[in-house]
């Protein structure tokens, strides 16, 4: 099994959920409101403005599905800020 971890702009969350649910992942977990630094500089999350807020999305699934997810999400990262990391896991339950 593979674990895909995605850091994503909060404005894009709904969009991304729709995409991965359509693909049919068996599940995902969202860690809300993370901060950080990347190519676009430091994230500046301001209490009133949603733009600049990030979430961490964790998807564990078989390699096939995860590859599918990666292909479908890649285009988003052209316009939006964020990163994706892939690693190996064993799903127990």
């Amino acid at each position: 099994m593979k674990k895909l971890e995605i850091i994503i702009e909060s404005v894009e969350l709904n969009n991304m959920r729709t995409i991965i649910e359509k693909i049919g992942v068996s599940g995902y977990t969202i860690v809300k409101d993370v901060a950080g630094m990347g190519k676009h500089g430091k994230s500046v999350s301001t209490s009133l403005v949603d733009v600049g807020e990030y979430h961490l999305l964790i998807i564990v699934d078989n390699e096939n599905i995860i590859n599918h997810v990666v292909e479908n999400l890649k285009p988003l990262f052209k316009n939006y800020s964020g990163v994706m990391f892939l690693s190996d896991v064993v799903k127990i339950t």
Partner: protein, 327 residues
């Protein structure tokens, strides 16, 4: 002119404005007063309920004004005019960058609830009356500019990027059922139907401490603005300057139109404020979603760190002075 200075001074004597300045300074010197995000959100909800409810209650007393239809019309005219002016200006300033032009236009064509509320409290303080239905205009003016700006971009756009198309439906839905619109109209309606009995029940919470809540909120707004002003360099001098001129020009347009159709002093001032104010909640989220290639640092910094403070401190007394000259 003398009076203008006086009004400006009277505004600087307002605790709410001074706490805004305090927040701004605290942020610049990196002092760590952290108002938690959840608090900022609930204060904002509180202010909207309060302003909506009070407006509705007052309408139930004063009755619907004849000016209502005219005002509604003026609201749309202001939305279209200011959005277009800003779009064209930025389009030329940034060398045909229609994406950022659209993004910024969406913000300036839309409105800022807190700027409006601060203006209302300014008028209350100096005892100037305004038509209560204006709160409805605030709600009405939030979305059109965003839609107009997106249409303008669509018109200039040849490449037709994918993202834009997929999200346009969501944008429209948001524009209509946006939380703040529902909250403002809902509270307006409830204030209208529940009358004095209802008012007496909830005014100790939603009306009496209103000014203090606004003060606390502006402390945080000052800190947000101070944090964002650090990105001024990335915005550049050109955009920095127009971020001061836009509110002045738009404010004048608002005041002229409102006084042209004969609205009273307070209402005219508030139309000036609505025209001059720029959105920093609804517009950024919508624009980031619909126009991802536009640069968020531009529109957020301009709207939040330059135009908002300008309006709060100098703009409101300016639009008021202008309005009183035209009465």
């Amino acid at each position: 002119m003398n009076e203008l200075l006086l009004n400006g001074f009277s505004n600087l004597n307002n605790p709410a404005i001074l706490f805004f300045v305090l927040g701004f300074i605290a942020s610049i010197i990196r002092s760590d007063i952290k108002i938690p995000e959840s608090i900022v959100k609930i204060l904002s909800i509180y202010l909207m309920i309060s302003i909506g409810y009070k407006g509705g209650f007052e309408i139930s007393h004063s009755g619907m004004s004849d000016d209502l239809l005219k005002s509604f019309f003026i609201s749309l005219v202001i939305s279209v005019t200011t959005t277009t002016i800003v779009f064209i200006t930025i389009y030329h300033l940034l060398k045909k960058d229609f994406l950022n032009a659209g993004a910024i236009a969406a913000h300036y064509g839309s409105v800022s609830v807190v700027t409006f509320i601060t203006a209302v409290s300014f008028l209350d303080k100096i005892g100037v009356e305004y038509n209560s239905y204006i709160v409805g205009m605030l709600a009405i003016m939030e979305s059109p500019a965003i839609l107009i700006a997106l249409l303008l971009v669509k018109f200039f756009n040849k490449s037709n990027s994918n993202t834009e198309v997929t999200n346009i439906k969501e944008i429209f839905k948001e524009a209509l059922f946006n939380g703040s619109i529902v909250l403002l109209f809902g509270s307006l309606l409830i204030g209208f139907v529940t009358g004095s009995k209802g008012y007496n029940l909830i005014s100790p919470f939603f009306v009496t401490p209103f000014q203090g809540v606004l003060t606390l909120f502006l402390l945080e707004m000052g800190m947000i603005a101070g944090k964002r002003i650090e990105e001024f360099k990335k915005v550049g001098l050109k955009l920095g300057i127009v971020a001061v001129f836009f509110p002045i020009i738009n404010g004048i347009i608002g005041v002229l139109l409102a006084s042209f159709i004969g609205l009273n002093l307070g209402t005219t001032t508030l139309f000036g404020v609505l025209a001059a104010s720029s959105s920093y909640i609804a517009a950024p989220a919508a624009v980031r979603l619909a126009l991802p290639q536009a640069n968020p640092i531009y529109y957020i910094t301009m709207s939040l760190a330059i135009t908002f403070p300008f309006n709060i401190i100098l703009g409101i007394p300016l639009y008021y002075s202008l309005s009183s000259m035209l009465q």
